[in-house]
Amino acid sequence: MSDAIKAATLEYATRLGDDSVVLGHRISEWVSYGPFLEEDIAYGNVALDYIGRARMFYTYAAELADDGRTEDDFAYMRSDREYRNLLLMEMPKGDFAYSQVRQLFADAYYTLVLPELLQSKDETLSAIAAKGIKETKYHLRRSRDWVLRLGDGTEESHKRTQKAVDALWGYTHEMFDMDETEQMLADAGIAVDVSKLRDAWHKMVSDVLIEATLTVPEDSWAVRGGRTGYHTENLGHMLTEMQITHRSYPGCQW
């Protein structure tokens, strides 16, 4: 592996780890707050999958960095300006409709991204994708079912769900942006060229929204910046909570 490829792969694994840990954390905020017990369990399950995925990406990043850092250094010792997650993942949990719509957007994304990542020439990334594909099938079934129920449920649930779709839509565009780092890796057969996935994602999501009697928003606005560390205000608060214990006792083992 050339130094340039190695550095880029480290950056890429970190980004994917950041996506996973941030979304996993957001989902975990639902535990004991779900609308009924089965949903507490389901949320716990999905959160666990994402935290597990974050650990695999970070462990690989740490291995590539080879500077003594561990998965926890990546998760707990970087500030929000250093985090590289997609903005969609960091948005607060909101109400149940908001979280399920975000989840549908993310699950549809991973349904397309992971099979591509499975083809990666990088064996570790490919192996992580293989595990993620199985989980994502279950995740998408769940978020799809919920968006259908909520969109086509009561007047109130419809209203809340449409509001969530409209509020989150503008954060989905950057999911399909490529920068130099990812382009170089895509050219080398390592990273996924996400710019090619937008149409399929749009169709997949639109099909669900239409069946749920919801309106697919126009592409009238877009907020970008996750991959360059230009975040919303939400991430700082999330990391403050997530990192407080770890940072309060420097150098400790847990």
Partner: protein, 313 residues
């Protein structure tokens, strides 16, 4: 005595399980509903003090283990609600009883989790005490409850091991971590002993429950078991035992120990612990906030049914 009653008592005597469709005395049913639903509520409310640390867990591994544990507790709650439902009460009735204070849950969850070590202490001591009780309940006379306990015990013993292992990491860690572990032990040891309930002489439900073999061992016997087994665990951790009066009694073959603070025990049971109000308010708030979701689900299912009926016609 009616022939049904005779048959019931014969089964109890012969250690045969009572099954949902069998005849049973009304009080047996009532007693079981009370105990099983209380157990289910404990699992559910127990998600809160531990859930309090999911977002602040100190490492990714600990976060994953805690998530997985809390998820197991929710699963136990579900399982126990189902067991209680076989006795003719619905989950929504049980939830209402919890929220109105008619049904109780284990008082231990009215104590706050203030540091990460409290999560470790809960896993070790609280799940440890629960197992002592539940192992005994694997032989309870009601079939669905006994089978539930067998399954639940397996997971609880995993929880207890991970709790102890988390405690060990703290006790063998930095001086600050060790102090955190000692503090958690000091606070959770006594409430863990209280989990076994009042002295046998003061226990309202004990006698009948023992006769019907719903309970298999008395509160005080189970508590003694737990006291005895915990001594060495504390030694291995290298922490100070919270009970200054703990002393091996050769004659009894057990440790003698301080009596518990029964005023505190009754005060917390009667709703005046640190977190009683908070725990119920949290449960009610989540339940009420979830109402529009449950309504949406019902409306959606209804629409689907109507559509299917129309297609079939």
């Amino acid at each position: 005595m009616t022939p049904e009653e005779q048959n019931f008592l014969r089964k109890i005597e012969a250690e045969e399980k009572i099954e949902p469709k069998d005849w049973m005395p009304a009080d047996y049913r009532k007693n079981l509903i009370r105990q099983i639903s209380q157990h289910a509520h404990s699992e559910v409310i127990g998600m809160q003090p531990e859930g309090n640390w999911i977002t602040r867990a100190p490492s990714l591994r600990r976060k994953a283990v805690l998530l997985s544990k809390v998820q197991d507790e929710a699963g136990h709650g579900l399982y126990l609600y189902s067991a209680a439902e076989t006795l003719g009460i619905s989950r929504s009735e049980m939830i209402e009883q919890l929220q109105t204070g008619k049904a109780k849950y284990s008082s231990i969850f009215n104590y706050p989790t203030l540091t990460w070590a409290d999560v470790a202490a809960i896993g070790w001591l609280v799940d440890g005490a629960a197992i002592v009780n539940q192992v005994s309940l694997q032989r309870t006379s009601y079939g669905p409850y006994a089978r539930g306990m067998i399954r639940i015990c397996k997971e609880e013993s995993f929880h207890q091991r991970q709790g102890y292992e988390a405690m060990l990491a703290l006790a063998k860690g930095s001086p600050e971590q060790k102090a955190m572990a000692q503090d958690a032990l000091n606070r959770f040891y006594w409430p863990a002993l209280m989990m076994f309930g009042p002295h046998d002489s003061a226990s309202a439900h004990s006698q009948k429950s023992m006769e019907w073999k719903i309970k298999r061992e008395t509160n005080d016997d189970l508590r003694q078991k737990f006291i005895d087994q915990t001594v060495q665990q504390i030694e291995v951790l290298g922490l100070d035992h919270p009970d200054a009066n703990l002393k091996w009694n050769e004659e009894r073959g057990h440790y003698d120990s301080s009596d518990l603070n029964w005023d505190e025990f009754w005060s917390v049971i009667n709703g005046n612990g640190h977190c009683n109000r908070q725990r119920i308010e949290h449960h009610v708030a989540a339940h009420e906030e979830g109402e529009w979701v449950r309504d949406a689900m019902a409306a959606y299912n209804e629409k689907k049914r109507a559509k299917q009926a129309q297609n079939a016609a």
